[in-house]
Structure formats: C-alpha cells, structure tokens
Symmetry: C2
Amino acid sequence: MDVIKVSGSSRTSAVAGAIAGVFREHKRAEVQAIGAGAVNQAVKALVLARGYLREDGYDVICAPEFADVEIEGKVRTAIKLVVELRGAAGPPPESPPELTPTENAAP
Amino acid sequence: MDVIKVSGSSRTSAVAGAIAGVFREHKRAEVQAIGAGAVNQAVKALVLARGYLREDGYDVICAPEFADVEIEGKVRTAIKLVVELRGAAGPPPESPPELTPTENAAP
C-alpha cells in the first residue's frame, strides 16, 4: 500500500479522492505530511474523504502519529495520519498486559 | 464539555495536556483550530496526547470535521477534531437504515 504524500500545495479534493480510493481497496490508508501547510491540507482532505466514504457505508477515523522520514539526506518529522474503519482493531499495546494470578498458581 | 481552542501559537504540550485531561474526565474531547498553523499545532498535540492516554490504557483516535464558527461577526470554517476511544460508537448515520420486510408483513 502506497503512502499518500501531501504538500502544502496539494489540492484537497485530489488528496481526498486518493484517500478514498486507497481506503476502498485496502480498508486502510496512510497520509504523510511535513509542515503546517501540508498537515492542514491533509486534514481538510481527510474530512472530505470521510464524506465520500460515508456514502459507501464506511465510517472512517484517523490515528495520527509522528514519523521520521529522510528527505535529501536530512531526517524530518512528518505527521502520519492512519485512516481506518471506526472500530477496527488498532496496533497491539506497546507493553504486554499485566499478568494476573490464575486459580491454580503456586502460592 | 468545553471545546479546546487551538491557535498557531499554542504550545503543543499544553494543548496535549488539555486534551488528555478532558478525555480522562469525559471519555471524549473536541479540539477546534482555524488556519494551517493552528491545525498543525492541534494535530501534533493530539499525537502527544495519544501517547499520554496510551499510558493510561486508552487508545484514542480522532474524527475530523468541518465546523462553521462565528468570530467577530464573520463566519469562518474551523477544523474540529473529535477525540474518542477507538471502537467507540460514532454518530448515527445521516440517513435511516433501509427497511427490510419482515416475515409476517402484509404482501
């Protein structure tokens, strides 16, 4: 699945169409933006894409994350918006669940 | 529940703390931002807040929307980020579900 890369000059309707298209195929999409202008376009596109996908019966949400990406040899911090179906299972927790004693555990 | 209003000069850590605090109390938070700088700060704060809340065992996601807000007599389009627990039921669909005939429906 390709990451959808958004810049500050990306057209929101084009990005929204891309998000909806990738989501319909994979039931997930990832949108990457670096800088305020790009993040703004990405979020606006996501609002539009939510509307398109709602018409198809999909209620999508997003989980934003930081992502380090290398551009022309420099590491920059991007915002990654992971678009998923509402109610889809997320990633596993980073720490294992706390162990609880079982009935037949040794005292 | 108060809407958390973010500007381009808001500190992300302060906004993140506000999001986490409101979420812990209400199991929901709403963040409002107008303009690219504000949306960027809001999304970065949300990434931080997701980290704080993950430590409390909450996996939160966001549903972005447009919202018309009136500021000094002018209507402006804000981005509203609705922060919810992953898996929480969303709003009801805009159109009612299609009715299906029941077994004992009249012909």
